[in-house]
């Protein structure tokens, strides 16, 4: 047998990345050509079905409870007259008219900036009506106020005498900035993106965890740990599962895209602040970060656990914590620019969710670059920490110490 290491083909010592690649390549192909991947592809169908059912109920609630409203900024008498006329007409017409609320009663000498009112009343109104019933001015985002033009003219005519003899012409003032109504829609977009991100992350992190436990069960982990640094093993496993999930996302994305295109205008999605292409791109990146962050913690757990029962016991608190952070990020999303939102952005495990929501609401790109750098740093720290923990706790042989026996008892008895 020839033991010449300089024999053709031998690359010598593997770098950390090359070693991670060896593990990632094995895991990726093994998972992709397994039954697991088939079920992985089917997996999202269940939340989608539940989501669709819940969505149809939610839509009804949304239509009845959150009909877009117009804020009225006129002299006191005019404002009250407009609201009264709207209510009277709504009774006779049986609905269909936009809701109207008095925002401010103006004194005769007072002037109001409808655009400012629109921007300052967080999500309360989709448009602002100013001027007078004889010469009404409707301010708001273009398509919406155009649709309401006829309704508002009808209400203004009703204030005058209800006859067609005097028909007031509504002047439209289109806003260049996003209206609060848009913000509300974007909030929904952000919510949807966050939920999708969370579901995917939890599913994949769970898969990477069971993958490592299976590996420990197969006893292959010691072979890996002897040959390459544990960081490479962890990174390889994380990126393999990420690759698998990106394939899954590509499949789901294609199917979803086809459904969207075939449905055409039936499905109207509100445009996010950074635009759809950027949101999708950021969504994929933040998904990767959320998964890598959670996956690295789950890998550390997997390195400590030997059985599925131990995995369940150990991963439950982490899952609960992640759920809480997800809710926290969802809550923070409703308070853009606040300290709460900042905290959600800074906390590594809620950061991807909070930042994705921000992408739907705010057009600035640079905060995403900074946040990604921050999240990458945490992934590296967690993987290093996990591999250290593995070396300290996982590879023991011989008799168990008292602490180890206690640990086993705790995790096995739950």
């Amino acid at each position: 047998m020839n033991f010449d290491l300089s024999a053709p083909g031998h690359r010598g010592r593997l770098s950390m990345l090359a070693a991670a690649w060896v593990v990632a390549r094995r895991d990726f192909t093994a998972i992709l050509f397994s039954r697991t991947f088939f079920f992985f592809l089917l997996g999202p169908l269940f939340p989608v079905i539940v989501g669709l059912l819940a969505g149809s109920v939610g839509q009804r609630v949304d239509q009845s409870g959150e009909a877009p409203a117009i804020g009225v900024v006129m002299a006191e008498a005019d404002a009250k007259a407009m609201v009264r006329a709207r209510d009277a007409l709504a009774d006779r017409l049986g609905g269909g008219l936009p809701d109207m609320h008095v925002v401010k009663d103006l004194t005769p000498a007072e002037q109001a900036d409808p655009g400012e009112v629109l921007a300052s009343r967080k999500g309360a109104f989709a448009g602002v009506l100013s001027g007078s019933p004889a010469a009404p001015v409707l301010t708001g985002p273009g398509p919406l106020i155009k649709d309401w033009r006829g309704d508002v003219e009808l209400i203004a005519a009703e204030v005058r005498d209800g006859s067609l003899a005097f028909w007031p012409q509504v002047k439209l003032a289109k806003t260049s900035v996003a209206a609060p109504g848009d913000s509300r829609s974007r909030l929904r977009t952000a919510q949807g993106a966050q939920t999708l991100l969370f579901l995917l992350t939890m599913m994949l992190a769970g898969m990477v965890l069971s993958n490592l436990v299976e590996e420990k069960g197969n006893k292959i982990i010691e072979v890996l740990a002897a040959a390459i640094p544990m960081e490479s093993v962890f990174f390889g496993k994380l990126f393999a599962m990420l690759g698998v999930s990106l394939v899954g996302i590509a499949v789901w994305g294609s199917v979803g895209g086809a459904i969207y295109l075939s449905a055409g205008s039936l499905v109207a999605l509100p445009e996010p602040a950074v635009g759809w292409p950027m949101l999708v791109g950021l969504g994929v990146i933040y998904f990767a970060m959320a998964y890598l962050l959670l996956g690295s913690v789950f890998l550390a757990i997997g390195s400590l656990a030997n059985t599925v029962r131990e995995v369940q016991t150990l991963s439950m608190p982490v899952t609960m914590m992640q759920l809480m952070l997800f809710f926290f990020a969802t809550y923070a999303m409703t308070q853009p620019g606040s300290a709460v939102e900042m905290l959600a952005v800074v906390l590594p495990f809620s950061s991807p969710f909070a930042m994705l929501a921000r992408a739907a609401q705010e057009p600035a790109i640079w905060p995403h670059v900074a946040a990604l750098g921050w999240q990458v740093m945490w992934v590296v720290l967690l993987v290093r920490g996990g591999s250290m923990l593995f070396r300290r706790r996982a590879m023991k042989s011989g008799p168990q110490g008292a602490g180890r026996k206690w640990w086993r008892r705790v995790v096995s008895e739950g």
Partner: protein
Amino acid sequence: MTGNVSGFDCPLAIEARGLVKRFEGTTAVGGVDLSVPQGSVYGILGPNGAGKTTTLRMLLGIIEPDSGYRRILGAERPHDVAHAIGYLPEERGLYPSMKATEAIAFLGALRGLPLKEGRRRAHELLERHGLGYAADRQIRQLSKGMAQQVQILGTLVHRPRLVIFDEPFSGLDALNQGKLEAMMRGLAEDGTTVIFSTHVIAHAERLCDEVAIIAGGRVPFAGPVDVARDRIPAQVRLETQADEGLWRAALPTDSRREGRYWHFALPEGGIEPLLRALIAGEAGILSLSIERAGLHDAFVAIAGEAAARALEAEKPEEPRR
């Protein structure tokens, strides 16, 4: 053999001084010193729980020692020379869904061997070791012994300069144990350093140039097998026709008698003065044999009765399918 591994010219494949590892207050290894010459077959001998596996894991960098120093193929960080090392852990493990060829190639890839070359060598190795028919079978379709052979081939596919086997004979039937012994000898003949741990003294005795006897996390002896044996004087067995006579005075005082046989340690002055006294005293020598101490006796003498009993208690595993 040529190579570009650091420490190629180093006479020692492994050098370890004062390796200590504690797990939660329990000392698993309490100060191990080892010097393994390049190209030797080196055995680490001790009962289960003596610290063999922990020592090997520290040498390989799977776990870090709490204190002490190690140098493997001239490198202080074992992963720096991982491409020149092969390792078969005590708890064998392969991916059950992998084909035998792929499993071997994957183990090579972990050590820096390109997959394509790994597959080529895997086919070659499987054919050479009579497992060619199993090349495209999944590991889960192989018997335990065959899977173990596949893993051994995977340990060697990248042509390492140092091979470490942890209890390599457990799980193998007698035939395959013989094959493995032959393979280990072949590796050593080609200049590869072979280290293996075992609790079966016979394997160490047959294969090793040097041994380290480990008991209770310490190494009371490390060195050539002959030196270990020489710790105990050779044993003399004498058979005489006469029961009594003046010649009895020439026998060492600690001689013990079993029937017509006398057993005693070879006197420091050698056998010749005793022989002369026996002949002159008309003892009627029927037979006389001088037996050098075995490694087992040396182990008992060095590691103590308790360790020897522990070793005796560990019957070699039944061959498994």
